[in-house]
């Protein structure tokens, strides 16, 4: 080979020095470097030899997009070695969803406390009367409280799963938290589908009365009576209640859909879809919890007489006139006003010799 490259044909023996000189010139820098290296051997770093499989693993890691390979296992994502979105999902959960979700819940709680301190309990201005209006049937109250109980359980267990690592481990320790988290997960998964059932029942029962009507926008523009002193007329449900109903249905639909994707991972859904479902489930449930906190506030300490309709089925006439004036007027026109004594008999507060005919209303028939 060398002969071919450097033919010496035509050169005499005496010409060989040219070849050796050329070799010496070419190797001289290397000789200098190796000498210098040997002299400063203790101070230099080891020679960086690139990992020959680095490119392979970089390809496997797939930071930019998912590459699907072939596998004998035929199931969702079986051809994907590493899902790069998993890291993004984890980062989003840890650095954004949990802290901002916590701020959102704490902020809402603080807002309600401040609102209560500033505005106080909204009283029935004309005072509670001795007359009642039938507002919710037994069936309506039952499905409402059924949905409420399931929602509270799911919210409680869901918050343990979301914030427990940050908030509970420092208090209860890792061992107890692992037990609590396992129990919460099982309970959350079990009661999740029941929320869907209760939501469907509530939707079909209340949808007709929650269709927006003329005058709803006026109610909204006047702040629904929460701000200021004036009464804002509304129908059976006001704009706020209707909006909460539709939020419950639409956001609740997203919660149910994403929850079912997570609970039943047997329908071929891949990791990316489940990560998206988890993100949407987390965000929408936090929004729902915040709205429901407001709903609970108004229904309990925030407004006098608001809870009666959903506990006894009857509301005070004056309360109805101040908050649902159009509906109250309609009830009065149709002679549906009931005296408190009769309601008390229905509730079993006093001994009644005969059962009033309006008991049929109580049973929701």
């Amino acid at each position: 080979m060398r002969r071919a490259l450097i033919p010496h044909k035509g050169y005499g023996i005496g010409d060989d020095w040219v070849f050796y000189l050329l070799i010496l010139i070419m190797l001289s820098p290397l000789l200098v470097m190796s000498t210098a290296s040997a002299e400063s051997g203790k101070n230099t770093q080891p020679i960086q030899i690139p990992n020959p499989s680095a490119d392979l693993w970089r390809e496997v890691r797939q930071r930019d997009a998912i590459a699907v390979g072939n596998s004998q296992v035929k199931s969702a994502d079986s051809g994907v070695l590493i899902n790069p979105y998993g890291d993004k999902w984890r980062n989003f959960r840890m650095t954004q969803l949990i802290p901002y979700g916590g701020y959102l819940l704490a902020g809402m709680l603080l807002l309600l406390i401040i609102f209560f301190i500033v505005r106080g309990r909204i009283k029935v201005v004309s005072g509670m009367s001795d007359k009642k209006l039938f507002r919710y049937s037994l069936y309506e109250r039952t499905i409402h409280w059924c949905l409420a109980a399931i929602f509270l359980f799911l919210a409680f267990t869901g918050l343990i799963l979301l914030f427990g690592r940050s908030l509970l481990i420092p208090i209860v320790g890792q061992e107890f938290f692992s037990l609590l988290a396992s129990a919460s997960k099982e309970g959350h998964n079990l009661f999740g589908p029941l929320f869907a059932v209760a939501l469907v029942l509530v939707f079909f029962r209340f949808v007709r009365r929650n269709i927006y009507q003329k005058g709803d926008l006026t109610w909204l523009l006047k702040g629904g009576g929460l701000i200021g002193k004036g009464h804002v007329p509304s129908n059976f449900f006001n704009m706020g209640e209707k909006s909460m109903f539709w939020m419950l249905v639409l956001v609740g639909g997203v919660i149910v859909g994403s929850g079912l994707v997570l609970v039943f991972p047997v329908f071929g859904q891949g990791r990316v879809l489940m990560e998206l479902s988890h993100v949407s489930h987390g965000i929408t449930t936090l929004v729902m919890i915040v709205v429901i906190m407001g709903h609970i506030y108004i229904g309990s300490v925030g407004m006098e007489g608001a809870l009666d309709g959903m506990t006894t089925g009857y509301c005070d006439l004056n309360w109805a006139k101040e908050h649902h004036e159009q509906w109250a007027e309609l009830c009065e026109e149709q002679n549906e006003v009931i005296m408190e004594d009769e309601v008390s008999r229905l509730q079993g507060d006093t001994k009644a010799n005969s059962m009033p005919s309006s008991l049929t209303q109580e049973t929701g028939q």
Partner: protein, 213 residues
């Protein structure tokens, strides 16, 4: 220590109280006897008893209409609970190891979950109906609420322990089940056994009187 107590002596004590208590209650009912009926029977009492025992599983039309919620919720709860109690895999294993010595086919996991869902929604609706309806609220006593509460807690802790990874959760479930077993014979929960006697008695009496009831 507590775990050993719950898993051992307390279990045998609770089971013993349950068995002896139920036998005692049933014998008490049978020993109370019936007032002698001197009238000539219009139909065979035993046939009426047998007919009513099964016919009452189907509610009368007016009851099915007016009390649709309680009928549906009642069936959901009782069927779901029965499936959970008898055919859940952990229960089959437990019964075969502790009581029967043999096992039987268990529900698949999905059917177990469906049964639990049905039982929970049924129990929740029944409890809400009891609290919200003025008549059932008046008729209810503390016994009813304790019974419902215990059954609910037993079911809930059982489901929370579904992962079967934490012994304390299993022990909590077992402990509540033991409390339920001890409470059972002395409460309205005895209707699980006495419903047959009351239906048969009503059916036999009405048949002898010639009443279609």
């Amino acid at each position: 220590m507590i775990g050993e107590l719950i898993d051992g002596p307390l279990w045998y004590f609770a089971f013993g109280v349950f068995v002896l208590g139920v036998i005692y209650r049933i014998i008490s009912i049978l020993r109370a006897g019936l007032k002698k009926d001197f009238s000539r029977p219009r139909a065979e009492g035993s046939a009426g008893a047998l007919r009513t025992l099964f016919s009452r599983f189907i509610p009368r039309r007016d009851v099915a209409t007016r009390g649709r919620l309680t009928v549906i919720a009642g069936y959901l709860f009782h069927l779901g609970l029965f499936a959970l109690l008898i055919f859940a895999q952990p229960h089959v294993t437990f019964f075969s190891e502790r009581i029967t010595g043999f096992s039987w086919p268990a529900l698949p996991y999905w059917a177990f979950i469906v049964s639990a869902e049905l039982a929970f929604i049924g129990l929740l609706l029944l409890w809400l109906h009891r609290v919200l309806h003025p008549v059932t609220r008046l008729l209810s006593s503390i016994d009813d609420y304790v019974g419902i509460g215990l059954v609910f807690l037993v079911m809930l802790t059982g489901c929370l322990a579904l992962a079967q990874a934490f012994e304390p959760l299993r022990l909590l479930h077992l402990f509540l089940a033991e409390l339920l077993l001890i409470y059972f014979p002395f409460s309205n929960l005895m209707h699980a056994f006495t419903f047959a006697f009351s239906r048969a008695y009503t059916g036999a009496t009405m048949a002898r009187k010639g009443v279609n009831a």
